[in-house]
Symmetry: C2
Subunit: 253 residues, 2 copies
Amino acid sequence: MSQAIPDRVTAAVLIIGDEILSGRTQDTNLRDIARYLGVLGVDVAEARTVPDVLEEIVEALNALRARHDYVVTTGGIGPTHDDITADAVAAAFGVELIEHPEIIAMLEARFGDQLNAARRRMARVPVGADLVKNPVQGPPGFTIGNVFTLAGVPQIMRGMLEDVGPRLRGGRPTVSRTVRVEGAGEGQIAAPLEGVAKAHPDMSLGSYPFFTPEGYGSNLVVRARDPEALAGVVQELIAALAAAGIAQAREVE
Amino acid sequence: MSQAIPDRVTAAVLIIGDEILSGRTQDTNLRDIARYLGVLGVDVAEARTVPDVLEEIVEALNALRARHDYVVTTGGIGPTHDDITADAVAAAFGVELIEHPEIIAMLEARFGDQLNAARRRMARVPVGADLVKNPVQGPPGFTIGNVFTLAGVPQIMRGMLEDVGPRLRGGRPTVSRTVRVEGAGEGQIAAPLEGVAKAHPDMSLGSYPFFTPEGYGSNLVVRARDPEALAGVVQELIAALAAAGIAQAREVE
């Protein structure tokens, strides 16, 4: 029996920065944004990573903001010449950049007569943008249309997210439960798992194998919007695995 | 004086899997692929992460393979119902899927009469594909056109990469050097950094700030294809920083 699914609210993440594409820096912002938004009922449905090249940021941003309810960008809002995200967001929306008076006031309070041209770059936001608070350090992010532009440094990005959440129209949050299978590979698990997945098209069932010196197996993750239905499907999955000869399946945290 | 730059060879990475977009799993494959290809002179120039949805994989794959010399995909080649990467690659190239006789032979040797329908899924490759060796465990990946389809499990993906490298037409590798600045923020660094960057348009100069309990500063990374020219620019950058009153700049590993 299929269930009524509330309209899905989706977001895309746009990661901006040569350092991610060169492999120098390990991105963790996608994971953190996905978890934060997921709790609010907003599913990250797509992500892209682009270099510090204006045209490429603009193209990706325009593609993503047309396809999703929200877009979160990270990176490229500092004072150096390679920080061109504000320019790209303004270009994508076809508006000018201005120096935001609140940010200028913050920068003046902090830097006084050391407020040079580079630091003033951080005050530039697209016309019509609102600020996103930065509770960590440095200047704020901004939001225009359905786009939120945040810092790239993970601890600052996470701080800014706290001012993004309250502005989102959330869907119903997805909840997940995990069944851990030990001593059986995906080749054995696939048939019972697929049977349960096909019976519940409103849920997402995935299999994530692990291999350790101590043994192998797979974590089966069931995601759904209805916690009660989810609990039933977890039991159904464990029973289906048992019927296929896989007794070592148990729910884990 | 600008230098002759050899044709840039670029690759895109396509990460496939709901578990990355939900934030459940931290991707590390992009970084590993970028580093591996970078050494071979192939720059990862773009990355996308898509869910386990056939149409979305096909669309992203067709966009990326048209724009870049190579595409590397990770994830979705196991035996379970959510593993649909082979289907998507075949659809993108407009060819059928077949059971590859070499993979079937491997699976028969391993599983004997336990070779069920789910496990046979792992033998499916697009018509015209060549295999990519898997030195770790499990079935191989495959390659068709300019696309390499690898496993999602990081240790297996890395093993498969070793059979990708020899097939690539590499560019000239990019080398990088890092100048670490302590006790100065990006607002001070920006002007001298930009001056050096503008004088060397054939190089990439980026600034990556850090904030620790012990202090703050930024790592300035210079990337270029000519190691000798790069060494000169590192010295030029340190001198430009010193001229701007930033004495605490030194090259680090």
